[in-house]
């Protein structure tokens, strides 16, 4: 179990909240497609980098940030797949069932990817 950082929690709360608000405002003014781009704002990735910036300094910070960036690329790859699935499932089964199914897809794909990268 890792250590809980209050600053990490706050940074995530602010970035996550702002991303959803910006997504809503952009969707209302420019359409849902443009709003969707902001729904994929890399809040979790940026929050992880900012938290690392608070806890580490110098070369440790740079090497930790590079590790985070590599991990984020894999995570984004999974999320692209999930977003494509969500767009398809929501249209097919309605937003409630479609969103639940997309979450299920995300969980299974992530479990496989994390399992493969951890144990092989």
């Amino acid at each position: 179990m890792a250590d809980l950082s209050i600053s990490g929690l706050l940074i995530r709360f602010v970035l996550g909240g702002l991303a959803v608000v910006v997504c809503t405002v952009v969707a209302r003014r420019l359409g849902e497609k443009a709003g969707g781009i902001f729904a994929a704002f890399p809040a979790v990735f940026l929050a992880a980098l900012l938290t690392a910036g608070l806890d580490l300094k110098g070369e440790d910070l740079i090497s930790q940030s590079i590790v985070l960036s590599k991990g984020a690329m894999i995570g984004m790859g999974i999320n692209i797949l999930v977003a494509i699935m969500a767009g398809f499932l929501l249209k097919k089964h309605g937003w409630k069932k479609g969103l639940l199914e997309a979450l299920g897809c995300w969980f299974i794909v992530s479990m496989v990817v994390v399992g493969v990268t951890t144990y092989y």
């Binding site: 809503t24 969707g36 960036s69 999320n79």
Partner: protein, 140 residues
């Protein structure tokens, strides 16, 4: 309007914070790894769009987020590249964010242009077929 945005802010923030809490509290390392890339903002945005304006708009948000996620890969790759070049986190993050926005918009407009060209081609084929049919009928 302001109250609605405030509720969305609270929900979005709570979702991202909760995924971090799962990473920290989870006794299983694998669960922490899975939630490290949880698309909390996208899920919240789609959920809120579903509640407020129904399936069609929620699906549009999900489709739009694909471009943002593709931009996210460019963002992470560029942060990695700029960190190696400059050894400065603030500059690398700033440039990464700019690249995220521009690459997302670029991918979205390229996809839109391809779809439009496809539609024009289909329309042209349909009108050519209709013209040929009417020509044939007149000849008969």
């Amino acid at each position: 309007m302001k109250k609605d945005l405030f509720i969305r802010f609270l929900l979005g923030g709570t979702a991202v914070m909760a995924s971090y809490l799962i990473i920290v509290i989870s006794p299983w390392e694998i669960l922490g790894g899975i939630f490290a890339a949880f698309p909390a903002v996208m899920i919240t945005a789609v959920l809120m769009a579903g509640i407020s304006s129904g399936t069609t708009n929620a699906a549009k948000i999900a489709n739009g987020s694909v471009y943002g996620m593709i931009g996210g890969i460019f963002c992470a790759a560029s942060v990695w590249m700029f960190l190696t070049l400059t050894h400065n986190l603030t500059i690398s993050m700033g440039l990464g964010l700019i690249i995220w926005l521009f690459s997302s918009i670029l991918v979205s407009s390229i996809k839109e242009r391809i779809s439009k060209e496809k539609m024009i081609k289909t329309d042209n084929t349909k009108s050519k077929a209709a013209f040929a049919k009417s020509h044939l009928r007149n000849a008969q």
